[in-house]
Assembly symmetry: C2
Homo-oligomer: 111 residues x 2
Amino acid sequence: MLLMDQLTDVLNAISHPTRRAIIGQLANGPARFLDIAKPFDTALNAVTKHLKLLERAGLIERRKQGREVLISFRGEPLREVAVWVHEYERFWNQRLDQFEQHFRNKKKGKK
Amino acid sequence: MLLMDQLTDVLNAISHPTRRAIIGQLANGPARFLDIAKPFDTALNAVTKHLKLLERAGLIERRKQGREVLISFRGEPLREVAVWVHEYERFWNQRLDQFEQHFRNKKKGKK
């Protein structure tokens, strides 16, 4: 249940396009709050809320460096999402297999 | 942007534990609405809302079979989640590598 709730936090965190964009940005390296907020046409207040959700999910961490606070991306919580999704991999592969088979049969029919 | 919004719908859909449980249940085979609702201690109304979100994300489909409506799971939309997550795979592997290296060095030190 604990793990499940962590997964819920992570999925909630990545379910918003702005938060996925922040992750994409931080994947290039740590950044300061104002640099993170710059590309977005949103109130700073909204960015703060997005960062809180990302932090709660363990997807970012803050580190003091001199007088600055650097925010960096942590990828580990995404592993759990990958594990959950891959439990259902056979469902999309299955369909693809049927699809491929369909076209293979069609091709054969033409020959 | 269209794809991104679909990803948002799918992540929203799977971000709730009850909806993940419904997916887990339907992965065993199609079911009728009341069978889906049975394991959950929730109002039928709430289950209906969960199913609507899953349907919007393309994760379930309804099929009339005689007088019954069967609801079945569709896994394809999850592929997009897998693709998104795997863009960040290096971030969790990196850390694991460092972790392993740390223990390997520790072991060497002991010898």
